[in-house]
């Protein structure tokens, strides 16, 4: 399995950068290669967020509601990305009375930081895979959970009643979704027998069935569609998108935890949210959709991977346009009485099936 992986993706990105860069393989060379690799992954995700935030989100929502959206600046209105970046960064930063600094200043940084850090272990194909620790899957969940801390900090420190309610709701929501999310991921670990992201991807490369000369791979979305559907729903709860955008709930709480944030802090909170949607998409793609696998040579894996992430992103936007928001008490009931019971049932059933086959 490991040799097939090496043929597919090669070594992690920093190891190959050490070969290319002229700094040798000493401590300095390793550190520089790691930083360059991290900068590549960071730039890639920042670019995708820049396209998704000011442009794609408006276009998609406009398509669902039969409008045009941005179309004046550049082809398809794409230059709106630059215009919006300059506009938002040059706004005045208003610090409200009685905010709890430095927690109020740290919260946006924590949100953006935690979402970006999760991408370290995601195998994106075409050799773009920053690190491959043996505990990759646990690492992703651990890092993604730090965002909850940022939401509570933002909610409490703002000295605003809407922010406070938004932060408390974020906690309630995270308590309800997190256990089902991890339990469903454990059912994937039962199949793959590894927490290492590259091993999980490699385990999905074998053909499942061949239909009319077309080989269907053992992507866990095909092997266990029940777990896939549950995970997609739990992921929507994790990233707090509709119909589970209860911490923000614009019609109830103005903007929830981000009510008092303006200028660059507003940008950072939005950046963190979009990075989180993409991180959720990356985890779904890695666990259930074969990671960077797809037709064609392995060298175009990054194209398939980005396509899968964007498919998940478009799904969240579809849900945003199509589904009404739940109430907070409904969310608690769905989380603890529905999702948790279904996730446990999925885990036991998967264990029995894997045990009987093995």
């Amino acid at each position: 399995m490991a040799s097939a992986l090496t043929a597919l993706q090669g070594a992690p990105l920093p190891d190959r950068l050490v070969e290319v860069l002229p700094f040798g393989s000493g401590p300095l060379g390793t550190a520089i290669a790691a930083l360059v690799g991290a900068a590549i992954v960071g730039s890639l995700m920042m670019t995708m967020t820049a396209v998704a935030g000011p442009w794609a989100k408006r276009k998609v929502t406009a398509a669902f509601t039969d409008r045009y959206a941005v179309n004046r600046l550049g082809p398809f209105g794409l230059v709106i990305i630059v215009a919006d970046a300059v506009r938002l960064l040059s706004k005045e930063l208003i610090v409200p009375e009685g905010v709890d600094r430095p927690a109020w200043d740290l919260a946006p940084i924590v949100l953006a930081f935690s979402a970006l850090l999760g991408f370290a272990v995601i195998p994106m194909g075409s050799g773009i895979h920053l690190a491959d620790p043996e505990v990759g899957l646990v690492y992703v969940f651990a890092i993604a959970s730090i965002a909850s801390l940022g939401l509570v900090m933002a909610g409490y420190a703002s000295n605003n009643k809407f922010s406070m309610l938004g932060g408390l709701r974020a906690v309630a929501q995270n308590l309800a979704y997190e256990i089902p999310l991890i339990l469903i991921a454990v059912s994937v670990v039962l199949f793959a027998g590894s927490l290492q992201m590259s091993e999980i991807v490699a385990a999905q490369a074998e053909p499942l069935v061949t239909v009319a000369g077309f080989s269907v791979p053992t992507w866990y979305a095909f092997v266990n569609p029940f777990a896939f559907v549950l995970f997609v729903i739990a992921n929507l709860m994790e990233v707090g998108r509709n119909p589970f955008d209860i911490p923000e709930a614009p019609t109830e709480l103005v903007a929830g935890y981000q009510t008092e944030y303006s200028s660059v802090y507003f940008v950072l909170i939005y950046l963190g949210e979009f990075l989180h949607i993409f991180l959720g998409g990356a985890v779904i793609a890695t666990l259930f959709l074969g990671g960077p696998a797809g037709p064609g040579p392995a060298s175009i894996g990054i194209v398939w991977f980005i396509a899968k992430i964007w498919a998940v992103y478009l799904f969240t936007q579809w849900a945003r346009s199509a589904l009404p928001r739940l109430r907070i008490d409904q969310l608690i009931e769905i989380g603890w009485k529905g999702m948790l019971v279904l996730a446990l049932a999925n885990l036991v059933l998967t264990a029995v099936i894997v045990g009987v086959i093995a």
Binding site: A38, K91, L93, A112, A131, A172, I182, L195, L268, K337
Partner: protein, 134 residues
């Protein structure tokens, strides 16, 4: 193969550098026009009434306790899931799956009890409670 945590640490540095550099750029670009009333917290345009940091029923104290129990449970399940296939091949299905089923059953009984006593229910206001009882 170098230590993967070096690269994770590098991404942590990049992840801090991106927000901090954005804050630095913004501080060069943005104006500062302090005016009276601008800094009041937002309460739908009204003058804010009272402090935000008051005693407040957060509603989900019991749910948070349940969460801790189940979170510890997931920590115990991960190593079991990791060696599951190999263990079944060596010892057979019963000895490997059985103890975990007993463990999960105890947790499910606990969840059922919490469900019955209403711990995972969002408490409504007294007026709404009376309405549902009628």
């Amino acid at each position: 193969m170098s230590n993967p945590w070096i690269a994770v640490g590098a991404l942590a540095l990049v992840g801090l550098a991106i927000p901090l550099s954005m804050i630095a750029i913004s501080s060069l670009l943005r104006p500062s026009v302090p005016e009276q009333g601008k800094r009041a917290v937002y309460e739908s345009g009204e003058v804010p009434t009272g402090d935000t940091r008051i005693r407040f029923n957060i509603q989900y104290y019991m749910v948070a306790l349940l969460f801790v129990v189940f979170d510890v449970e997931t920590v115990l399940i991960f190593p079991w899931a990791l060696i599951y296939s190999d263990a079944v091949a060596e010892f057979g299905l019963g000895p490997v799956l059985g103890p975990m089923l007993v463990f999960l059953a105890i947790l499910v009984i606990g969840l059922g009890w919490a469900w019955r006593t209403g711990a995972v229910r969002w408490v409504k206001s007294e007026r709404a409670e009376i309405k549902t009882q009628l």
